[in-house]
Symmetry: C2
Subunit: 146 residues, 2 copies
Amino acid sequence: MSIYRHILVAVDLTDDAAQVVARAQKFQGEGVRFSLVHALEPLGFAYGGDIPMDLTSIQDQLTAHARAKLAELAPLLQVPTERQYVFTGMPDAEIHRLADQEGVDLIIIGSHGRHGLALLLGSTSTGVLHGAHCDVLAVRVGLKTA
Amino acid sequence: MSIYRHILVAVDLTDDAAQVVARAQKFQGEGVRFSLVHALEPLGFAYGGDIPMDLTSIQDQLTAHARAKLAELAPLLQVPTERQYVFTGMPDAEIHRLADQEGVDLIIIGSHGRHGLALLLGSTSTGVLHGAHCDVLAVRVGLKTA
């Protein structure tokens, strides 16, 4: 009955993550395993490299925050620590690389409408869709409850 | 156990359609119903309206061909005639309109890599992802068999 065997759930660090995880739970079944990923964009990219200060410690704090968030979500999908991934890099490229490397057959990611932050987050789900070598489920978040 | 209740399967008229339908079949279950859609781009759009001839009969033939293809796929998902939709228009807009109107909670569509016709077809799945009010499953086709 399981449709997929290894499902990679890509979450952001907002409340939307809970909706994405709730949808992922519906795919639970015999022989299905999950991984969790959050990809942080490097601060240097986001600010164009123009900030005359060392961003390393802030980046480290962001990474620690992301790890804590994944650890909080992990029990819902029985994801062991070694399959909780936090990367710094371009989100779509990192997610594709991980999916290929780990033999993932479905990526689940939240997808927003076109409002507010949506343009940014929407472009991540679009980027993930393109170039993925496996199926991608875009879960509509933000507009309604899952 | 059913994750979704009304699944709209968007197919093109290539052999990829069979892969998309095969994946959709995995979502079959008690209380799940399927619809099938193919959206034809108007020939007048594709050729910029510059052709000094009446394209109506060609468009009618394309529509008939699309209807025949949907009718051929329909038994695999128990889709009755009234839920086999062929539209002429912008594919993503038509698919969203239909999904909203019929209370669809998942759209399944094929998604290609970046090769060959893929750029065109890929942009349809991207367009469908954006602006959809429901979940979208992009089934990777063309790279491997389902």
